[in-house]
Symmetry: C2
Subunit: 318 residues, 2 copies
């Protein structure tokens, strides 16, 4: 039976990388040559813009796929371009899968059960009608917002089980205001701890390779005490850790997201990789030419830093 | 200066209706004649399905727009059909606006600030690139999930202010599991009360007609004590109340969402209106023919029931 977590861990081992490249395309940072080609045709500007971001994504995927096995698409940057953007989202997923990548849809959906079913089917399931079956968005896993409680999460978990997909529940996010609700204390437990306990419980039925579950958690690494505690509450959950690079995640804190076995976390960088060519140091050295080299150097560097830190971590525990 | 709330109240007065029709199209409930026409053409099935739901929506809008001034689109049912569904979402918004309706996008988005900006721009803003401006989804207001805290909500409020749009924050949702997080008590205040206080604060700068704010709240009516209390915490916020009909919202409880002035709430019914022809009583009397009449009767009945209840409410307070 297909299992998201087993496939994820297999991919991490094969690529020797727990990096996730965030494909969050923003037109203003995309190299001019790609934009010029996409906007050559007069007409619907949203369509042209969507073409530019899909062309950019394809090039990024071509560069990174020898080095990394996982990409994450933040759907907001596609929705920004209307349904043409949604088409670029769908096309990018297909292209990434063709290159053998695991694709996480960062959708952060959450709704009442009947509606959550529609979202879950759209992103993790099969749409059935008229005697046929279609797949709308063929990702391997999604992120889900838990504010509406377990009945809003179950439709995603149900399809994760049925179709060998994964779910990452928002437990503690990386933005400063995350403390306002997520860190509130109720009967000696913070909200993020309460959600984490649920994630741990929900994940128990979907255990795969090395004892990890297909139900994971989004966990920001900024506060090491919180991370340590969440690691304890959810020993079997993979953490999707945002913010390597741009969001200021420090390597030392990020390491706390891993278990001592060197597994347990995947680490995302979006802007730090796909716009590496806009980094002042690179710009000064090369200008905006050879942007592909900047992207490749950035992902190789990230892999190396994470690997060294994980090995150091393992050394400390043995 | 354009104000969502002033426009909303003007529309409510003109149409003499605070009903919201939820355009949540599900293929299995759409009349066969519409589906047959849409699927006549061989080819992409998601495209045909999206055509069916857009055709259905147009007919629904034609029937209801003399009776009601507000529609709400649950985007999940469009996402279900991939980017073709998103096109049907966009086309439906345009058609509804052409008929003079106020359109609420029930998107329940919520993300870190940088990403929330992209969502807010997609749904309440103007996309600027290449020296041009485009609008992706032209709704008048959206629903937003507050789990990530105020910095995740501000991008929506900022564009609401700038572009005369509205925001409805999820405060207390209608699903049974909503109690798991939303009803938790932290220092004598429940999470939904804490969110409600923020909504009240955020709304203070966007006051329009009759003292109401363009920043509203999604409030389920099931628990009258909760509703009473939320009405007190957010005296100036319009409540978007789900579940008239299908979700079992009782008229007596729903009335608690209104202020004594007869304003303060809009009440949504989705399945109860747009699939009125599937109601056993109607089916028995007419079969599936004349489905349009069933829809029209249902919205007229809903308007009448709400109006009588509001007048009764006002009578009690004078």
């Amino acid at each position: 039976m297909k299992s998201f977590i087993s496939q994820l861990i297999k991919t991490i081992e094969e690529k020797d990388s727990c990096s996730v490249v965030g494909l969050d395309p923003q037109l203003e940072y995309i190299p001019d040559e790609i934009k010029k080609a996409a906007f050559k045709k007069e007409g619907n500007e949203l369509k042209n813009a969507a073409k530019a971001i899909f062309d950019f994504n394809k090039q990024i995927i071509n560069i990174i796929h020898p080095h990394v096995g996982i990409v994450k698409l933040q759907i907001a940057f596609y929705e920004l371009l209307g349904f043409w953007g949604t088409k670029a989202y769908s096309d990018t997923i297909k292209y990434a899968k063709k290159k053998g990548l695991i694709v996480i849809g960062d959708i952060k959906r959450g709704d009442v059960p009947h509606t959550a079913e529609a979202y879950a089917t759209a992103h993790l399931g099969v749409v059935k009608f008229n005697g046929r079956q279609e797949i709308s968005f063929e990702v391997d896993a999604v992120t889900v917002n838990p504010y509406l409680g377990s009945d809003s999460v179950f439709p995603f978990i149900k399809l994760a089980r049925k179709n060998g997909k994964g779910v990452f529940i928002l437990v503690k996010t990386s933005n400063p205001s995350s403390k306002e609700i997520q860190d509130l204390k109720c009967k000696n437990k913070r909200i993020h701890q309460i959600v984490a306990s649920q994630v741990n419980k929900w994940g128990k039925d979907l255990i795969g390779k090395k004892g990890y579950s297909s139900i994971g958690a989004v966990v920001a690494s900024a506060n090491p005490n919180i991370v340590d505690n969440l690691r304890n509450i959810m020993p079997n959950s993979y953490f999707l850790v945002p913010g390597y690079g741009a969001q200021g995640g420090r390597l030392k804190n990020i390491m706390k997201c891993f278990n001592r076995d060197g597994y347990g976390a995947i680490v995302n960088s979006s802007r730090g990789i796909i716009y590496a060519h806009n980094h002042p140091a690179w710009k000064k050295k090369h200008g905006l030419k050879d942007w592909q080299c900047a992207v490749e150097e950035a992902i190789i560097k990230m892999n190396k830093e994470l690997k060294e830190a994980i090995n150091h971590n393992k050394g400390n525990s043995s």
